[in-house]
Every structure is written in structure tokens, then in C-alpha cells.
Symmetry: C2
Subunit: 229 residues, 2 copies
């Protein structure tokens, strides 16, 4: 299995960054994640737009054009000979001489096995817990998951599948995905603010023909909902 680092393909197990990288020193970086299905990547332009937008907001220049990056992602898939996979692109703050100022970003692309929810989970649903928290920069796909990772122990101890963030009762998102509910009147709702702009949200729902209301969603709305997903 190969990964990609800056300007070369490397054996995945030999893809290292120096400890002076701002990701290691200050947790500073952005990423994006998308799926390849039958060797094709649905909605790649949307993911790329979000990746470049996050990078720009976080003051991290991307050294490659969208076209060059696209070619590299497809070359990685081909080299690894896998048709269905998750692809993760991370862009870090780079090797900062003083461990604080942004340097030349490191671009890391890795390929991952996809895990899908089991049939039982889809059929029976999953338990979730809640936590009062709002991400620092909710519109950016930064690598800062301090609270999300930290909460995993609590999620497991509660026999839950995930944790829903809210602030004073206004819900925003799960650590790694958006929230949707179908309310008691059959209207599909999703939080309008403080949540990452999901590509799946945008595309799947527009393709499915469902009308989704982006609005304020409260914990009470979630509890009274017909469906939550």
C-alpha cells in the first residue's frame, strides 16, 4: 500500500513527518475525506472545493493545482489497486522553526479501508449521547478533534455509537458527521449554523429530492423527531 507525501509516493508504513510539524507541535492543519466507489470518486469537485477553502481560511497554501491533486489521488488509487476505498488528504502547518509560526505545509494523502454500518445498526438504530460543546471553527475541516477524540471513552462507557454536540440546547453536529431529523410534521431539518458543510448532505439529499430545512434545531426537536440520521 502506498501513501503520498508532498511530491512522492511512499510505502504507507514509511510515511513519516518530522516532529517539528505544526500538527505535532500545535495540532494545526486541515483535512478532507472522501470515498472511491468502483475506482470513481463521486462529488470530487465538492470535496476539493472544501479542501482548498479550508486551507485558504487556515492560511495554508496548497502547492498543487486542483488538476494536479486530482491526478495524484487517482494515481494513488491505481497504484494501490483498490476500487473501493476512503481517501484522506491532510495539510499540516509544516516544519515551523519556532514551533508556532506557519511554515510550508506538508501534504499527506493516505488510503483507508471503508467500514460501513452493519445491517443490524441500520435496522435497529444506534444510541447516542450528547455533550455541550461547539467547535472553534465549525465551518472549517481543521484537524482539531481534541474534544471528539477525548469523548470516545465516554461514548463507549455509555454503550453509545456517537455523541451529539449542542450549546445551550441548540444542536450543531456529531464530531464526524452532520445531523438530520424528520420532525413530527414530516419535515427534514438540519442545523443551519455552527456545523460543517457536509458534501453528503448537499448532494445525496438534493439528488433524493427531499427538501431539507436548514434551521435552528434543539435537543427537544431531536427527542421529539420521527427519525434522526
Amino acid at each position: 500500500m502506498y501513501s503520498f507525501l508532498n511530491n512522492q509516493f511512499l510505502p504507507a508504513e514509511k510515511t513519516f513527518v518530522h516532529v517539528s510539524d505544526l500538527a505535532v507541535q500545535r495540532g494545526y492543519g486541515i483535512f478532507d475525506f472522501f470515498k472511491a466507489v468502483n475506482g470513481k470518486i463521486p462529488f470530487l469537485d465538492d470535496y476539493f472545493n472544501r479542501f482548498y477553502r479550508s486551507a485558504d481560511f487556515m492560511q495554508l497554501p496548497v502547492s498543487l493545482s486542483r488538476e494536479e491533486l486530482k491526478n495524484i489521488v487517482h494515481e494513488l488509487l491505481q497504484k494501490n489497486g483498490v476500487a473501493d476505498a476512503g481517501i484522506k488528504m491532510v495539510l499540516t502547518g509544516g516544519y515551523s522553526p519556532d514551533g508556532y509560526e506557519i511554515a510550508t505545509p506538508n501534504l499527506i494523502i493516505t488510503q483507508h479501508t471503508l467500514t460501513m454500518p452493519s445491517a443490524k445498526m441500520l435496522e435497529q438504530g444506534v444510541k447516542i449521547i450528547t455533550h455541550e460543546f461547539r467547535r472553534e471553527m465549525p465551518l472549517v475541516k481543521s484537524i482539531n478533534y481534541t474534544t471528539g477524540v477525548w469523548l470516545q471513552r465516554k461514548v463507549k462507557a455509555s454503550n453509545a455509537y456517537d455523541v451529539l454536540y449542542h450549546l445551550q440546547g441548540e444542536v450543531s453536529e456529531f464530531p464526524r458527521c452532520n445531523l438530520f431529523i424528520v420532525n413530527k410534521n414530516g419535515i427534514v431539518m438540519t442545523p443551519a449554523n455552527y456545523a460543517l458543510e457536509g458534501i453528503t448532505r448537499k448532494n445525496i439529499l438534493s439528488l433524493s429530492g427531499m427538501e431539507v430545512k436548514a434551521t435552528t434545531v434543539t435537543l427537544t426537536d431531536v427527542l421529539q423527531a420521527r427519525e434522526v440520521f
Copy 2:
């Protein structure tokens, strides 16, 4: 120059971590930083206590005892033959197979040149700006400096030296240090809540004989203060 990684001393420029580390993937880790003066490290026990406390809170086991870690820090200073230096210890979330769950932490110890404020800065003071923000876990020395790093461009553009965090007018801390003021009645004050427990704060001030009131400090208090440091 040497660094230390897990169980070995390595040339500093060859100290790498694999990209699957949770610091790179999720910005997850803790650290601490202290100074060696004439080969001795003042208040080392305080720094170690805070390091182990941060690690414990963040669910990151430290594989070494305080005694073992102390010996390694002193060996590093000796190997590098530097009497005055900054020492940084970082403990990351480790090589996580799924890029999300905490694994076996990586311990990184690096040595840095100390930079002190210039005489002019000490004499004339420095300009600061403010930003509305409170850290996710203010009592823990986590590596998450997303906002602190991100604000550096604004600090520089404002010709300022640093940025003071406040939430609705209640100040907490600078990204990398505590705040103290001497108010108009000559009382030394420092924010009681939402700020990292500074070792310098604790020791220098207790040694100096100054009495410090840990309390709520507002932006108005800062503006009306006789001295700010």
C-alpha cells in the same frame, strides 16, 4: 543536537513520527515546556506534575515514571552540552489504526534555543490585541493551538506582540502565557478561571512576596490597570 523519541535519543533532524499519529490526524496530544538555567531546571517537579496531570486528563498513559523521565531530560541536556535551553515534552495520541481512537502515545522531547524579550520591549512595553475566544480545555496543556496559531497573522498585521483572549469581556489568558495586572489600587490580579495554571505564575510570584488575587478580570480592568504583564 539530539532529541528523544519513546525510548531512544536520535539526531534532532531525524526525529520523525508516522503520519498515522493522532497528533497529525486529529491534533490530539499534550505537552509541557520548561527552561534549563545553568544546567539546572527550576521547578521541574511542578512542570512534571502538570505534564502527568494533562496526560491523565487526556487519557494518555505515560510509559515512564517521573524519575525515569527526569533522568532522560537531564541526559538530553548533557548530550547536547547546553546549559541554558528550553525543553519541550510532547505526548501524542499515538499510531491509531482507525485514525480516531487513542493508541499508545508517542513521547517526544526536544531542546530549543531560548529567546528572551529585548531590553527595549521590557522598557517600552508591547502592544497587544484582543480576541473573543476561550480554549476548549483551559486547564489542560493540550497541543490544540488552532486559534492561537491562526491569529498570528492578525497579531503581525496589527503590529502587536500578542493577543489576549476574552469571552464577553472576561479575560482569561494569552495563547502561550498567563496575564497579570496591577490594578489602580495597587493590587496584583490574575484570572481565576479558564486559564492554564502557570508554573511561573505560581512560583515566581510566591517567591517575590507579591500577593496575587485570582479573580474575575475584565477588559475594563486591563485598560484601567497601572501595569499589565
